[in-house]
């Protein structure tokens, strides 16, 4: 019977693995350099890059159906809404005076 599955070459897995190790070293290095306000965004950018590599290649989303991509995208969207909502709330506190403060 025909398989709908895409067989990923182990070479790809090893390449992704090496990229993940290099990015881990990079995030440790970046944390020791004073980037001012940018330390956290850089750390998160590296973490997101690593997560995307794992999701696309190790978790086969690059080779999966659009239904699977939709589930991944929905999870990311809701997480983003949660975190963005929290940040918007706490960062904007004090911008406008409120009674009693």
């Amino acid at each position: 019977m025909s398989s709908s599955e895409h067989i990923v070459s182990p070479v790809v897995y090893v390449g992704v693995f090496l990229a993940l190790i290099v990015l881990t070293g990079l995030t440790v290095f970046a944390s020791t350099v004073d980037l001012g306000l940018w330390n956290t965004p850089v750390a998160l950018l590296i973490a997101v890059t690593k997560a995307v590599l794992v999701v696309l290649f190790f978790m086969h989303v690059k080779y999966s159906s659009r239904l699977v991509s939709l589930a991944v995208g929905a999870a990311m969207l809701w997480l983003l809404l949660l975190i963005a909502g929290v940040i918007a709330d706490y960062v904007s506190r004090g911008w406008v005076g409120s009674p009693g403060t």
């Binding site: 019977m1 398989s3 709908s4 599955e5 067989i7 990923v8 182990p10 897995y13 090893v14 992704v16 693995f17 993940l20 190790i21 881990t24 995030t27 440790v28 944390s31 020791t32 350099v33 004073d34 980037l35 330390n39 750390a43 998160l44 590296i46 973490a47 690593k50 997560a51 794992v54 999701v55 290649f57 190790f58 978790m59 086969h60 999966s64 159906s65 239904l67 699977v68 589930a71 991944v72 929905a74 999870a75 990311m76 809701w78 997480l79 949660l82 975190i83 929290v86 940040i87 706490y90 960062v91």
Partner: protein, 230 residues
């Protein structure tokens, strides 16, 4: 869809792992994969609450978070990150071996994944013990002197450590659950239950394990690498 008469159960040969409410193995696999991803989306929400709490308290008590984070063991955290990435590679290789129908390599890669998971949990235990020894477990005996925090500045350090234990603990719990699942899948593989046509359980276990890896990919910089440059 063919007519009821030709597809009456048992009337035609079909793969033994195809349950009869699915038309084909790829359709069955697609449904299972989608189900696993919905479960993972739920897990993202589950951990998401903790990440949101972390975001709030880090914003409110940044100084206490920096001082507390520095007490975490960076070399051990970095080694554990590498160990978990290695275990993701071995898991991906195990799934690959099962997809091309190689039984013994499948079992070997899965057992290697379990071993690496064990190494991770062992290192985590050493780190936890250190926090107990230094009175950095939130509660009555919490002492912030070593963090160079005094008075009111010491209290938020307990929030950092409460989040540290909750987040890494929930992550470790996922690994403790994952390890027996991988062992069970390895046993099934050893028994010759999988083939290139049907190895969905190996694939889905891989998804779970990689998801646990991703959580750690975020926990490592957020917990261990705050304000290291100061």
């Amino acid at each position: 869809m063919s007519s009821v008469a030709d597809t009456a159960h048992g009337a035609e040969r079909h793969h033994p792992d195809l349950v009869h409410h699915f038309e084909s193995l790829p359709a069955q696999k697609e449904a299972a994969t989608f189900g696993m991803w919905v479960f993972i989306a739920q897990e993202v929400m589950f951990f998401g609450g903790l990440f949101a709490a972390y975001t709030i308290y880090r914003h409110l008590y940044f100084h206490a978070f920096v001082q507390s984070s520095r007490h975490l063991n960076l070399p051990l955290g970095a080694i554990n990150t590498a160990v978990l990435i290695c275990s993701s590679l071995t898991m991906a290789m195990g799934v690959h071996a099962s997809a091309i129908g190689r039984r013994r390599p499948t079992v070997a890669w899965l057992l290697l994944t379990v071993a690496l998971g064990g190494v991770f949990l062992g290192i985590k235990t050493v780190e936890y013990k250190d926090k107990f020894d230094h009175h950095l477990v939130p509660g009555e005996s919490f002492q912030a002197e070593e963090l160079h925090l005094e008075g009111s500045a010491a209290r938020p350090a307990q929030i950092f450590y409460a989040l540290y234990f909750a987040m890494t603990g929930l992550h470790a719990a996922h690994m403790v659950i994952g390890i027996p699942i991988i062992l069970f899948i390895a046993w099934m593989a050893h028994r010759g239950r999988f083939s290139p046509e049907y190895h969905t359980p190996v694939e889905l276990t891989g998804l779970y394990w990689h998801f646990v890896d991703i959580i750690w990919i975020f926990l490592f910089p957020l917990l261990y690498l705050i304000g290291r440059h100061h």
